[in-house]
Subunit: 524 residues, 2 copies
């Protein structure tokens, strides 16, 4: 992470951090239905169910009102045809304004059912039983109605128990940030952000859905130099990490739109690209089969035949595309963009990455409007893409700031970590923070050691004293388990001579130094 | 933050990070009642109110059962005295096992009320009305009962809607971490942690309750060298930050316990310390008055008279304390601890901080068991303590790992930031990340510029190209607003000569360099 930060800084990106919390409104609806479900919500403090409780608490009065209304109807059931189901007639059966509405609404909506139930009571001998039965039915209907209402209230209350949610990615908070600070930001604005995000995806044992994302974006400029820079930035980071042979794949949304024009079916573009992407795996015939199955006709497939034969270097592919998209204005624009980027990167040179045109690359098709990037790990490492990005013409539009073009890339930190680990590219010193451990042989010896430790630390060398005058073996085991490369022994002899014995834990070699040469030795 | 991290590393502390989420159980009850209220809780996904809904949905059947039970009682009210209120008799009125319990419980508990209501119906002429009224009353009682039950269910469901909470501080998660990884950790374990914490304290407009904490702890050793090191670490950090003249105040819990012994009132210790702490502000007499008011008698105050006259250097204060606490074993132990630390620090020397004994220091009295630290900003800066800490003998006990002694300090990052800002100690370069901006005069010129930018970046110098060939003034304004100290102009003339014109934005000076000397110049 420090390497990546160093590169960002050298490239002129400013670090920003946004709060972990965003308003739920800011996040909801931005990541699709599945995304909404995976957003972690923060519980409000306070009484979320006031309304629910209130309606529960007034139930007794409403039921009682309905009860008396039904009793009255039953008592006068022979004049039922004259009964006035008007609001004012109903309302007098219930006390309290807040309860009226629910009762009136129910009775008016159920006039026919109530009339039918009550009319049925006139024709039977065992009248008391019938009356009671009808009353049960009527009250029960009403209860069921009330219950649905409560459930509705609970459902309504649920969204109110949370107004804040945890950051789901860095892009939406960044867009919110840009819009909010648009008057303070100096555009073009180059920022990077490296912060955790949270997703409520099936948690695994002992591991919660929290992980770091790392994005670098430039907003407020349409210049293609940004794309050039981002390719270089990818290359710089991977080169500095020692990760050689990554492939930066590029495509352009405009080229994909051009292809859509040429095949005469903008709506089939995704199907088309998904199928084409399988060329390496399933071969030309099967890809064409899939295209036909998706409703792309033979004439269209015939037109883009050159795509199936795409090969050679970037220049070859660009020529092929130029031939194919000669009739598409937007397609040619995309080719020109890509050509500028590829040529500029070529002129400037890359450290260890390869830049490749990949016409099947369709990452975030609905989102990106220009360049599309994706980075593949070095050949032989089984790993999905370790980075990706692209240009979007309207990042901030959803928050009301129109026409701010941006281009950004992200680094898949976890995957990069795994690749580095697989290839054994982490330097040993990452785990062995402390360079030198001074053994502790007692109070005087410890003080003598601390004086040397002070010197080393002042020189920026990480050193520490074993805190207790424990057994020699215990102290050595500690050094060993911590992976500390050097140990210093300083007892009576050394103190008398004003020296320190330095032991190389790897080789077992020991040598005596005075304080000055110890410092020099430890620095090397 | 980088400075602090650098010091931690040099002192042999390992960075750890814990997840933002902890189980609510881990956090609740650790910070007192107020703390519990301030913990942010994460909403579970899923259906929290299944039980509530279930009981609502069965309401109709239960009410109906009760209805029929009451009807039956009313019909047979003259034989009411013989009626069997046994469970099996009641249960037959309701269908479905899940509904039985609630009905049986209510009826059995309300036997007397029900009997009384129904008996009352025998004495009136307008019987039908009375029967109906009694029935209303009985059903209404039952409804109210059900409603309380629903409310109880909702209350019960509420805690279940959240099982996770956001980190409230770094100490409790660290204790949890140590216990959880006790078999993998090499003790003594020196760790530092610098992560955000969240508190649901009145949020201010546009600002949420998220802030960084920064702790360094050593656990698993009782050695006083740790205390010595932590004093040095404070000093190293503040010295490197350029913050001269901080005061590291130290006390020891054992000395405070000794004082409690001497005044014969352990329970008055806090009152005593709080009062003594005001000595500077309100003077000896008022302090004594407050002590008397708090119930500390004159004899006790007389005994600790030397505390009021505490002055001079550490050695003087230690002598004074030794005289005062001569009868207290634990007090003398505390003095010996403090003396060792003060003498060792004295021998080793500090860069810019002052170490001071402060017998009124009682920070976290209930928590710390040995050393107590607090750091005051340099004199003249109005700011509370900018750091604090101490030794605790039982950090991990609450999580089941006993007898792990630890000592730790924390840095008040926000306050340190404010102090540095007030004293103007932030280097200019903190805001001006980019050292050199290359102006953009067109495609060819930009490519020429990018070649130089590449060189500078390879040397670790942060450089960038203005992305568009915008007007000169606009580009210069950008450099100015970003606070970029150098601008490079390279147009036709420079390209022809193979040079770059470097402009110092501060002085306005311009000079031409070839690529190599430009790099050298920019590095200096």
């Amino acid at each position: 992470m420090n390497t990546i930060k160093g590169c960002f800084t050298t490239y002129g990106f400013q670090p920003i951090e946004t709060p972990s919390f965003e308003n739920s409104d800011t996040l909801m609806g931005k990541y699709g239905e599945e995304g909404d479900r995976l957003i972690f919500k923060i519980l409000n403090s306070g009484d979320y169910f006031k309304d629910v409780r209130k309606s529960l608490e007034s139930t007794g009065m409403v039921i009682d009102g309905y009860y008396r209304f039904v009793n009255n109807l039953l008592r006068n059931r022979f004049e039922l045809t004259d009964y006035n189901f008007e609001e004012s007639s109903i309302a007098r059966w219930v006390h309290g304004d807040e309860n009226k509405e629910i009762l009136v609404r129910f009775i008016k909506n159920n006039e026919n059912t109530i009339r039918a139930y009550i009319t049925a009571t006139g024709t039977n001998n065992d009248e008391e039983t019938i009356v009671s039965g009808i009353r049960s039915k009527l009250v029960n209907d009403f209860l069921n109605y009330l219950i649905s209402d409560y459930i509705l209230n609970i459902r309504t209350a649920l969204p109110n128990i949370s107004e804040k949610a945890l950051r789901y990615d860095l892009t939406v908070p960044f867009a919110r940030y840009v819009v909010q600070h648009q008057n303070d930001i100096v555009f073009p604005f180059k920022r990077y952000q490296m912060q955790p995000v949270w997703r409520a995806d099936r948690p695994q044992k002992g591991r919660f859905r929290e992980f770091y994302q790392c994005d670098a974006d430039v907003v407020g400029s349409k210049s293609l130099w940004q794309e050039v820079e981002l390719v270089q930035l990818y290359d710089a980071v991977f080169t500095q990490l020692g990760l050689k042979g990554t492939t930066i794949k590029m495509n352009n949304r405009k080229i994909l739109s051009g292809i859509a024009e040429v095949i005469g079916a903008s709506d089939k573009l995704i199907d088309f690209t998904v199928a084409l992407d399988k060329l390496d795996k399933i071969g030309e015939e099967k890809v064409k089969e899939e295209m036909r199955f998706k409703g792309i006709d033979d004439a269209a497939i015939e037109k883009v035949q050159p795509l199936f034969e795409a090969s050679g270097n970037a220049s070859d592919k660009l020529s092929m595309l130029r031939g194919l998209l000669v009739t598409s204005e937007i397609g040619l624009e995309g080719i020109a963009d890509l050509e500028f980027i590829v040529n500029s990167v070529d002129d400037l040179g890359l450290g260890s990455a390869n830049l490749e045109i990949d016409v099947t690359l369709a990452r975030g098709l609905n989102y990106y409007t220009g360049a599309i990037f994706e980075v593949a790990a070095p050949e032989g490492v089984k790993m999905g893409s370790i980075g990706g990005g692209g240009r979007y013409d309207d990042l901030t539009g959803i928050f009301g700031l129109k026409d701010v073009s941006g281009v950004g890339i992200s680094f898949g930190l976890d995957r990069i970590y795994l690749v580095l680990e697989e290839l054994g590219l982490f330097p040993d010193t990452v785990s062995a923070i402390t360079q030198v451990l001074f053994l502790n042989f007692g109070e005087q010896e410890a003080l003598y050691a601390m004086k040397a430790i002070n010197q080393l630390r002042n020189q920026g060398i990480s050193a520490e004293l074993y805190p207790d005058a424990a057994k020699f073996k215990k102290q050595m085991t500690y050094a060993d388990r911590r992976g500390i490369p050097f140990v210093v022994l300083a007892g009576d002899t050394e103190m008398a001579a004003g020296t320190y014995t330095l032991r190389n834990m790897g080789s077992g070699e020991q040598e005596q130094f005075d304080l000055k040469s110890l410092t020099t030795k430890a620095k090397s």
